[in-house]
Symmetry: C2
Subunit: 172 residues, 2 copies
Amino acid sequence: MSSRPSTVVLMSAPPPGAQRALRLDDYLPYRLSVAANAVSQLIARAYVDRFGLTVPQWRLMAVLGEDSPLTPQALCGRTIMDKVTVMRAARGLLQRRLLRRQPNAADGRSHQLSLTATGERMYAEVAPLALKYEATLLAGIEAADVARLGQWLRRLQHTAAALTEGGTGPAR
Amino acid sequence: MSSRPSTVVLMSAPPPGAQRALRLDDYLPYRLSVAANAVSQLIARAYVDRFGLTVPQWRLMAVLGEDSPLTPQALCGRTIMDKVTVMRAARGLLQRRLLRRQPNAADGRSHQLSLTATGERMYAEVAPLALKYEATLLAGIEAADVARLGQWLRRLQHTAAALTEGGTGPAR
DNA sequence: GGAGACTGGTTACATCTGAAACTTTCTCTG
DNA sequence: CAGAGAAAGTTTCAGATGTAACCAGTCTCC
């Protein structure tokens, strides 16, 4: 299906060189941001309400639930969060005794984080709920399409990161 | 490295009812959030650097560039932003004389916002650049797929909004 | 083996953001 | 047409976020 049925007769197939108009509503970065916001909002609220977890805290638990112990450093990589963010999230979880912190034999500056028994118990509740939310959101989209969506999101992320990094956006 | 060998094997095709494990990396809300962040980052930086515009300001200009005048109220709807956010963005643009503010004959509480000549001129630079960024990000994805991606994002957004709203997430 | 560069983690600060309270105007109803 | 209730816009305040400075332990290379 062509993206612009016929209403916009003049633009339906933008001639090479001619810019199509900027319509915020059809602008992908905008759509992406808005969709991500809505989804984040939904899930964030659920986790605050039910478990008192912020999003960064939730992410730490999700990662540590499947692989632990890890250093804050490693957690940054896995969650794509700033080290300050990881730090703060970890502090909160440590205070609630959901996380344990052990010295890192290999490097004195660092330490190892892992879930406590209480943490594990919470994880056991948190994880299925997360999956339910995902399932609800994706209900009615075919598995193959979900996979593709995931691919594209990854791809967009990497392209954007590369451009940010290199500082070389589209020509000025 | 793989923390849980056996689970992985068992999961490849989740039997109905059995939850698959939660892997943050494959978790769609996470992917969405991370991708949106990367893209936002990229574009936000570009606009701050080149035009001194924040994202909310940029959105106002984008909307007003194609349809104006509009009330703050209407802008909230069009940009899916909080009224406080719209307010602040507008204030900034008004100070820079990119926006004009006229009384709203129909409703004394409100007013009409539109781009000034300077604003229009900036818009004329801003819009093509935005489209270039979009094109760069999407380079190599077929038009049909781009359209689909847009559809899904809309759909996710609406589903999420509906759930947030109704407060009825997946069963507790 | 020690000086300098570096890296992991932490803290401090300035900014941004959103919820709630407030003011003015409008609308509806008796 | 007066008063109650709602809505638009604004201000205020508390919490979250990210950047930059900071400290301590580690690496490297002469």
